[in-house]
């Protein structure tokens, strides 16, 4: 059997392991083994690729292969070191931007590989076929957009780029760049195979990636990362086609299609079409709204002290906790879990209401609460729990804002209008844990905070919850 057939067989096994791994990632019981299975598939795919490298069964390079092989080993070791070190040291709150970075470098690699494939073909004097003139710029374009876009998404989640960046004629500029890329692409397919237009296309794609993500508000970053993840997958699949590598085609395509589905699911959860997320310059509308309507600012909020709040909690029958990004920032998950333990000892039923886009990524809250050993049968999806708020004596909002903003239902001018929310306002009493009166990530006021049955407990979420636990302990 030839080396190529052996490699193809190994790739087949790797592909099956990827699919099994993704399947097992779909259930909490088997998820961890699923990730491990996919990793084994990756190891197998990398191993099977070694004999396919130039110089193993084919002619070596004129100057010898040693240097290039050594560089491959160095590259893998350096990448593994950076990857493992950052994956281990990152805080749980910074998970979304970590995924963005890992996605971005994958996209960058895809663009680099496509560029080298093109240059090698062009320089080798071999004819770049029409099909390659189509697929190679595709990888370079999508991979570069994913790379640059992911870096901006990282900057936004990390807080380097605070507000959505908007400027006049933004859409026109993006359109112009896209048109230039399209023109270069057509030029490459139909008229020339020279490297210069390819390099230009590569550079313009990087610019496009930056400009595409800059105007998008931080609250929409999860959708952007999911989309860019799918982009990278597609770029890798196209690279696989260019190099005739089945493992890359299957691996890339699996990510491309599942990532697209995930993006759609996330947009559906926010009840907004993807075009709205990508092109509406979320923050601009929000800023206009804030300066235009002063209804929130005139009213006063009702503060509450920790001992008052703890009494309300202690004599409740059902308490629903709504965690949000504030919980992640304050790293209050362990204190929250302690609070629910204390309440349960008193016979209070505690449930957690998880909004699909709470935090910065879907499932962000689940991960944090799981870290604090909150059993996941206490976590309820929005649809499962929204009818229970009427029964709840107290709803405790821990650092959540936009996901409980009634404006999403009532104010057609609001940028989050149409997004389903957790109906905290239905419960008998709402206690909001908040650092101060700053608006949420979407930059809009929240009517709920001014509601008659809402009391505000100001302070760092972790301190506030710890104080509540202290007060409750004293009551025994």
């Amino acid at each position: 059997m030839s080396v190529h057939s052996l490699a193809a067989l190994a790739y087949l096994v790797a592909a099956v392991l990827f699919i099994l791994g993704m399947k097992r990632l779909s259930s909490p019981e088997s998820a961890r083994s699923g990730n491990l299975i996919a990793a084994v598939g990756m190891l197998l795919a990398v191993g099977a690729t070694v004999p396919l490298m130039r110089g193993i069964v084919t002619d070596p390079l004129p100057h010898g292969q040693i240097r290039n092989y050594a560089l491959i080993v160095v590259g893998i070791v350096v990448g593994a070191f950076i990857g493992v070190k950052s994956a281990r040291s990152v805080k749980m709150t910074a998970m979304p931007q970590t995924v963005a970075i890992f996605n971005g470098v994958g996209g960058g690699a895809a663009a680099l590989v496509a560029t080298m494939d093109f240059l090698n073909l062009a320089r080798g004097g071999a004819a770049v076929t029409t099909i390659f003139a189509l697929t190679m710029p595709f990888s370079a374009l999508i991979g570069s957009v994913s790379f640059a876009g992911s870096m901006i998404a990282f900057g936004k989640l990390q807080g380097f780029v605070e507000k959505p960046v908007t400027y006049p004629l933004q859409q026109a500029v993006n359109g112009l760049i896209l048109a230039a890329i399209a023109a270069l692409w057509i030029y490459l397919v139909g008229f020339t195979r020279s490297p210069l237009p390819f390099a230009l296309l590569f550079a313009l794609s990087l610019v496009l990636g930056v400009l595409m993500v800059l105007p998008i508000g931080g609250a929409d970053m999860p959708v952007v990362i999911a989309l860019l993840n799918a982009f990278t997958g597609l770029a890798v699949a196209a690279d696989g086609y260019n190099t005739n590598n089945i493992a890359m085609i299957i691996g890339g395509t699996l990510v491309g299609s599942s990532g697209t589905l995930l993006t759609v699911l996330m947009c559906r959860a926010m009840n907004r079409p993807i075009t709205n997320v990508l092109f509406s310059a979320f923050g601009k509308a929000a800023g206009a709204l804030r300066s235009g309507s002063a209804d929130g600012s005139g009213k006063a909020v009702n503060p509450i002290t920790a001992d008052e709040a703890s009494i309300l909690l202690a004599y409740a029958q059902l308490v629903i906790i709504i965690p949000g990004y504030g919980l992640a920032v304050a790293r209050a998950q362990h204190e929250v879990r302690e609070l629910s333990d204390v309440l349960e000892e008193r016979g209070v039923e505690v449930r957690y209401a998880i909004h699909p886009v709470a935090g910065r990524m879907p499932g962000h809250m689940n991960v944090l609460l799981a870290e604090a050993n909150v059993p996941y049968d206490k976590l309820y999806d929005m649809d499962a729990i929204n009818s229970d708020f009427r029964r709840a004596d107290v709803t405790l909002v821990v650092g959540a804002n936009d996901v409980v903003n009634p404006a999403a239902n009532t104010d057609p001018g609001s940028p989050i209008y149409g997004m389903p929310i957790l109906k905290a306002a239905d419960s008998k009493q709402v206690i909001v844990l908040k650092r101060g009166m700053s608006p949420g990530f979407a930059g809009i006021e929240n009517e709920l905070f001014f509601d008659d049955k809402t009391r505000m407990l100001f302070g760092d979420a972790r301190d506030s919850v710890a104080r509540l636990v202290g007060e409750l302990r004293k009551m025994r």
Binding site: G21, T49, I76, A87, R88, A110, L254, G363
Partner: protein
């Protein structure tokens, strides 16, 4: 397969089938696992490392070596970082001991 259909067409078949598998395999994922799943699939597209290895192995020009080495490093970060960070997330899904 060469005699029946061309390699390009066979690759197209693989591509289309993989699209459906990708959709199907995650369609029943609960919201609780969305982040780990995104992170796990993110690691899988680190398979671009293969492309980086192949490109760097045959690179002759300085530009080719720089691009190839960058591609290998990037791909390697994607693979190792992706799987490790996903594992870290999933470690937290242990059931609470009674």
């Amino acid at each position: 397969m060469g005699g029946v259909i061309g390699v390009g067409l066979a690759l197209l078949y693989i591509f289309i089938m993989a699209i459906f598998v990708g959709f199907e395999v995650i369609s029943k994922v609960p919201v609780i696992l969305h982040t780990p799943l995104m992170s796990g699939t993110n690691a899988i597209h680190g398979i671009i490392l293969l492309g980086g290895m192949l490109v760097l192995a045959s690179a002759t020009s300085p530009l080719g070596i720089v691009f190839g080495l960058l591609a290998v490093i990037f791909g390697s970060i994607n693979v190792f970082g992706g799987f490790v960070v996903t594992d870290r997330m999933l470690q937290m899904f242990k059931r609470r001991k009674p």
